[in-house]
Point group: C2
Chain length 751, copies 2
């Protein structure tokens, strides 16, 4: 896709969204506090969709529940930093912390935490406001690369703004920081740090709406009064700067802070994203961008709580991956190399692939026609720079978090959907490289046909995930006419069967001698990845990850009925874990189904593959109702960079990409009366649930564009055609619907 | 019961137990490490049944999972202290910490932690051994009031023993400590502390097997070398003493430490519980006492894991309450008053009544004929000294932990069972006093007929618990011929009905205006007792506590069937909690049933009251199988001073005291093939499960002493008669068994 095409379709898509503005605003249904309690790990602050800047309050406390800097249970604010991870289970970022003060701090090496109440706090997409107990009101909004602060000081204050480059929490530690004062209202600087991303470099430029009259810089050891405004700098691990303003400047001081991975200069240029000191206008622009996002999938329901859950989820699907490059496509990667994305395209980072390959990335093929090409090409850029596709890219650093090589299903899905702007052969080369890498247990996996537990950890999880990813390669090989590769990888895709134990009905770890690891306890969980046989869970959650071959899995159990029985047991087993070092990630239990973590996400939909769709309908509805709600702890576990939300978006609509690269979406039970996808091609696809209610959760029958529709899934291509899928709902299962095996999903994809 | 009677029945009971010694030892099935992992909070060290001393290793780490001083996940030992709570959710005690060292510590104000491996650790009832990485082997055993340490030092060590009166963790802090060296092998001292028990005084006497040649005392500030052995003392918050021995004394140093609540002198006398330096003999004596305990309830099964679970549970039912008085019955209570229990009887403490009134205390009426009288009278002594019966007595301090006035069901059960040695009229007076106290929300409960949420916290939990306790008073009133009281308290016993919301089918908090508190979310949990409507849980776990009137509860639901449906939902609802401050105590979920905390404990048995006993049989078996196992994390939550274990003892046997004061035990599904109660009257009562297996979990029919038995419960009196209850088990429910409402438990007790 060339630049012109990209622009024209952007215009089309935007105007399409604006056309429907007769309706109420949708952003009012978004509550950015949902996910900031419990273990959701989202942040409440201001960002634009997929922006580089997430300007949000930090409590200044370390701990698992502060991975995003903020947890709803807290009552202190330590500052407002410019980068925040959304929903992750590891904490990092929180770069360039800014705190408004009523007076300069005497001890310039230490920050200060100010108490606040949720009663004095408000957030909506692209906007955050809090009045702290010291009387300062802070308002935040953002553009893609620029944070915009508006501080209103109380009477009698000496307006002061403190930038703290030493501010850090959890895994993150600054390694080198720098501030230069360019003039009486402009600073530049950088913050290098190490943490989850071992190397991270953030350059910034900051400008104030009024001239400061005094500055106090501190290198972490001693303070210096800089009253002459000459160009100065201070180097060290803990640089902070206090900017002090005359009171007569009034009680409002505004501040813009722009970021770049490459240089001061690029950050200074990025300040121009906010051309004038008009906070309201920037806030409105951010809100408009969010409104645009939310218009892409809309629902009808008279249940306002469901609307808040749905639109907040949709909002969270458009936070990550985040923009990494400057406006001209330039970026500095973690190795220190400067590259430029071609043709003004953008580099993205924060690829939480283990989570998001499942439902978020397939959703992007309907909601992010513009940005998705750049995201895909960002993974290929990572491949060019590192020799392998990313597993978990944070600030372009390979964090090697979690298992599998799940860039593959993402690329496969895009290739099979013939995604424009993606070079299929180049992507295929990268995929093949992943499948033959000499790390991450791949040689052992190839040699033994499974990953032996005595060679590396995670035998079951890794084997099943590699097998699925290999199936994805096989499909692409087929499409590209690589027959031999197709056969090889279809064979590898069967690896999961090596670990099935018919005696217990579970997937079990094997050692290199071919024997199952003893003793076996399906409730046992071990969090240490080297020792664990199942990653972040136990045998219950990890025995069903065969999304590409449910029929094959059922054959191992002996029959569809036997697999169905095992799935029933999954949902009714006691919700206990055994072990001395149990993973906290498995949560949100229905029996041993654990919605709070990704390995369970597809399982409720599996009944469709074995002729028991009403059980899917019942369970999906139960999961939507119990695992999501509209309070701060509204997620059942880590939101995980959009995956937990994408599950809700799909499932409330009535669909789910069980096999994310199969080009088909399997039916659940729509919670919304009507769900409309506004497609980039200008068409609309609507899913209606007639006679829908809390009791009428079972699909009685379906029509597509007025004609009877018997399949238990719909093809991606059919959605792109536009039209209407209508479900007739009722209070009792109609076991005739979906009885015919020809209507079941599965097989080698529906392209 | 006079002293003579007590002694004669003790002899009888002991000899009875010894008669059956042809069998294997049972203590080999006890693994004291079960419960030291997960959140069980038990300790692995040495004690005799209900002893004052629990001599056990401490990791020296604070935290919820270190409430007993030790958690299996840890790898450090900081010392061996003499008092340990078993299974509680709050940490205290850990008095008189002793640590063997290979050389005196230079910094005498600080202790030291030594690494160890579980490979070098062993424990059995009354005995604990560890070889630490510094080469010192520590062996521990105990008598009732005396701990016995045996330290084997490695070659080249300067044998040193450090007593640390400053050692403290979690809630506990020493307030005043004291050491006096009496001679070259004897010390006395005390440790006063504040914590969960706000006032606690422990006097001790210590004697070493060899003379020490040097001592270093430290008051927490400075050290002094005491080479002359003169009587010395050191006062302060942090007294420690290092005793240093000549190497030529050999590599083994033994140490006895005895405790008393009253004085040095009594502690010195208690040293005589171990008359000679014969560690093996003391260890054997402790083991024999445990073997005696375990003989009281025995099971037959070919499942060794079940035996380990059962006998370890039975072991844990004989740890608390713990002995508090000296050998002559004297004790000093938390107010500083010295009292003497009459006629050489014993005072006990550590009454975790909210937990143990349910199943542990009723079990004592079968297993503790000797000690139970003293335990009951200890509660009356508490009443005499404090004006109210205890709620949670720790070291005779009223900690006011948890809710209800649950000394009442304990006393009521004993009175109704005509327990010898308990003055019923005196106990009744105390019970009435509790029910009219002017604290703990009782006046509001009386005024409104329920505890309004806007008057005090815990509206639902407290109201339901008071209502049950009031029913217990009514039964005693009836027995004692107090007709008016009977009517009054039967009326109060109906209070639960005030809070039933037919709209949602849950018990809900009401404010004083009579309105339900809004909004309502049955999944909501709040740990703050002042704010919580349900204590340590949510509406699911707390809507069924009506053990005295299940028929009345069913009537509120509209029918037995409707209540049955709600119970089914309880076991299948998603296992999620909502809230910002969720109680960690609710755990061990099957749906919303939470076996890890007490409010759920009776619920699986409730199906018996509504004609669906097969559902009880199915659930009880599932709970036994999933919530207990023979690893360190073998309990699904806090062991809670014997309650979690008592549940297992009853349930593995096939029974449970749903209403602990009804004199009847309701049938579940026996996991053991045979369970034998060796009764204090010399008789045996046996429960046999014929054709029992993992699949044959349903009762098909029953006989009592050879005659068909139709009831779904057995009376306490029938058990005392001795005999045999035989269940015929099968793989499918026999819905005819227990179909007749006349066979159901409930009503006004079965006396």
């Amino acid at each position: 896709m060339n630049m012109l095409m990209r622009l024209s379709s952007l215009v089309l898509f935007s105007s399409l969204c604006l056309l429907s503005r007769g309706q109420d605003s949708l952003i009012r249904y978004v509550d950015p506090f949902i996910g900031t309690g419990g273990h959701g790990h989202t942040f409440p602050g201001a960002a634009v969709p997929f922006g580089m800047v997430q300007l949000s309050p930090d409590n200044g406390r370390s701990g698992w529940d502060w991975c995003s800097g903020y947890h709803y249970s807290d009552s202190l604010i330590a500052g407002f930093s410019h980068t925040h991870l959304s929903g992750t289970g590891i904490g990092d970022w929180l770069d360039i912390s800014v705190m408004p003060l009523t007076a300069p701090l005497a001890d310039t090496t230490q920050g200060i935490k100010i108490r606040f109440s949720h009663d004095n706090e408000y957030a909506s997409p692209g906007y955050y406001r809090v009045t702290m107990d010291n009387g300062i009101r802070a308002e935040l909004t953002a553009t893609a690369r620029c944070g915009y602060h508006r501080y209103t000081y109380p009477q009698g204050a000496t307006p002061t703004i403190r930038l703290d480059l030493a501010f850090h929490l959890n895994w993150d530690t600054p390694t080198e920081t720098h501030v230069t004062i360019l003039n009486d209202s402009t600073l530049v600087g950088y913050r290098y740090s190490t943490g989850w991303a071992h190397v991270q470099r953030v350059y910034f430029a900051a400008r104030t709406s009024s001239a400061f009259t005094k500055t106090i810089l501190n290198d972490g050891h001693s303070a210096s009064d800089m009253s002459d405004m000459a160009e100065t700098y201070d180097k060290g691990k803990g640089v902070s700067a206090q900017l002090i303003f005359n009171e007569h400047h009034g009680h409002i001081i505004e501040l813009k802070v722009a970021l770049s991975s490459t240089s001061y200069d690029k950050a200074l240029q990025a300040l121009n994203e906010i051309p004038s000191w008009d906070f309201a206008r920037t806030r409105k622009s951010a809100a408009d961008q969010w409104e645009n996002e939310l218009r892409k999938v809309t629902i009808s329901t008279n249940n306002d709580a469901l609307k808040r859950v749905f639109y907040t989820a949709l909002y969270h699907t458009a936070i990550a991956p985040t923009l990494y490059s400057d406006a001209d496509g330039e970026y500095q990667n973690a190795h220190g190399d400067v590259h430029t994305m071609p043709g003004g395209t953008s580099r993205y980072t924060l690829f939480s692939l283990w989570d998001t390959f499942r439902a978020l990335k397939p959703l992007f093929t309907l909601t992010q026609p513009e940005r998705y090409t750049d995201m895909l090409n960002s993974m290929l850029a990572f491949y060019d720079e590192n020799g392998l596709l990313p597993v978990w890219d944070l600030s372009t650093w390979e964090t090697n978090t979690m298992t599998g090589y799940h860039a593959i299903p993402v690329l496969a899905d895009a290739i099979l959907k013939e995604w424009p702007g993606l070079d299929a052969e180049r992507a295929y080369e990268a995929m093949i490289k992943s499948a033959h890498q000499d790390i991450r247990g791949v040689p052992d996996y190839i040699q033994y046909g499974y990953l032996p537990q005595d060679k590396a950890g995670g035998s079951v999880t890794v084997t099943l995930e590699y097998a699925y990813d290999d199936w994805c390669i096989a499909q692409v090989a087929k499409k590209l006419g690589k027959t031999a590769d197709h056969a090889t990888f279809m064979n590898r895709a069967k690896s999961y069967a090596q670990l099935f134990d018919p005696g217990t009905g579970f997937m079990r770890a094997k050692n290199s001698d071919g024997q199952f690891v003893e003793p076996f306890d399906p409730f046992w969980s071990e969090h240490d990845f080297d020792k664990a046989q199942y990653i972040e869970g136990n045998a219950w959650q990890h025995s069903f990850f065969v999304p590409h071959d449910v029929a094959g899995l059922a054959a191992l159990y002996g029959s569809n009925k036997a697999l169905g029985k095992k799935l029933d047991e999954l949902f009714t087993a006691p919700s206990v874990m055994h072990g001395e070092n149990i993973s906290p990630d498995a949560s949100g239990f229905i029996g041993q189904y654990a919605h709070g973590n990704e390995p369970s996400h597809h399982i409720a939909y599996m009944y469709n593959y074995i002729g028991e769709p009403w059980k899917t309908q019942e369970r999906v509805r139960q999961i939507v109702d119990s695992m999501y709600h509209d309070k701060p702890d509204g997620y059942a576990g880590n939101e995980d960079a959009g995956q937990m939300s994408a599950w809700a978006v799909w499932s409330i609509g009535g669909l789910y990409p069980v096999n994310p690269a199969a080009g088909e979406y399997v039916f659940g039970s729509p919670s919304a009366d009507k769900t409309t996808f506004s497609l980039p091609n200008g068409r609309q696809f609507t899913i209606s649930a007639q006679n829908n209610s809390d009791r009428n959760i079972y699909i009685q029958s379906a029509t597509l564009n007025g004609k009877p529709y018997e399949n238990l899934y719909i093809r991606h291509q059919d959605i792109l055609e536009g039209g209407e899928l209508v479900f007739k709902m009722g209070p009792k299962p109609n076991k005739r619907f979906g009885r015919n095996p020809e209507t079941w999903p599965g097989g080698e994809g529906n392209w």
